[in-house]
Symmetry: C2
């Protein structure tokens, strides 16, 4: 069997965001840099588990790591979310109700031809 397909930017970003723990970590980082221990505090899981989640977020480019004494503070990098937001834009018209109603209306007009 062929190795698993290469994970492009969108795939990696969506996958990183698919986990509620990771989304909570990102939310925490909106209020500024935090150490791994600080990030881990609210969660009922071990530090290595948090370390792994951070690694996923870093490899998706959503979090950046720096260095300060024995601390390795993480900071939010929302840039990859922009890719997602722009990808979503092509579907916006499909979920916006007003346009859905317009579609329906136009479809009805077509039927009456």
């Amino acid at each position: 069997m062929v190795k698993y397909m290469s994970a492009d930017v969108l795939s990696k970003t969506f996958a990183a965001l698919a986990d509620p723990t990771r989304r909570a970590i990102l939310s925490r980082l909106t209020s500024g840099e935090a150490s791994v221990s600080e990030i881990a505090k609210p969660f009922s899981m071990t530090m290595p588990a948090i370390s792994k989640h951070l690694k996923v977020l870093e490899s998706a480019g959503l979090v950046a790591r720096s260095k300060s004494a024995q601390w390795r503070p993480r900071k939010l990098n929302a840039a990859p979310m922009k890719e997602i937001s722009e990808w979503l834009d092509q579907y916006r018209q499909h979920w916006e109700e007003r346009l859905d109603r317009l579609d329906l209306y136009l479809a009805k007009l077509q039927q009456n031809d």
Copy 2:
């Protein structure tokens, strides 16, 4: 304020969108309903694989199934994407460069107090 959203809906939707095959299927469905065979045609994988991807998309509510003779046409339902879009909104200021620069500027002003 950020509206409450079920983490499960977000997780399921993000996970469904994390696969390029599934995103391609959704893209195909923007041009209208399609049968499973039609959906499968551009892909170099078997029908059961496509069936599974469709199941994932359906369980995330991104695709709806109907029935017409021996066909089971699928149609796009973008509604869950709206949840994602709204979730992303809380990060928009973080990726918009102009605002980041403004933040930086305001921070600098604060420092000079």
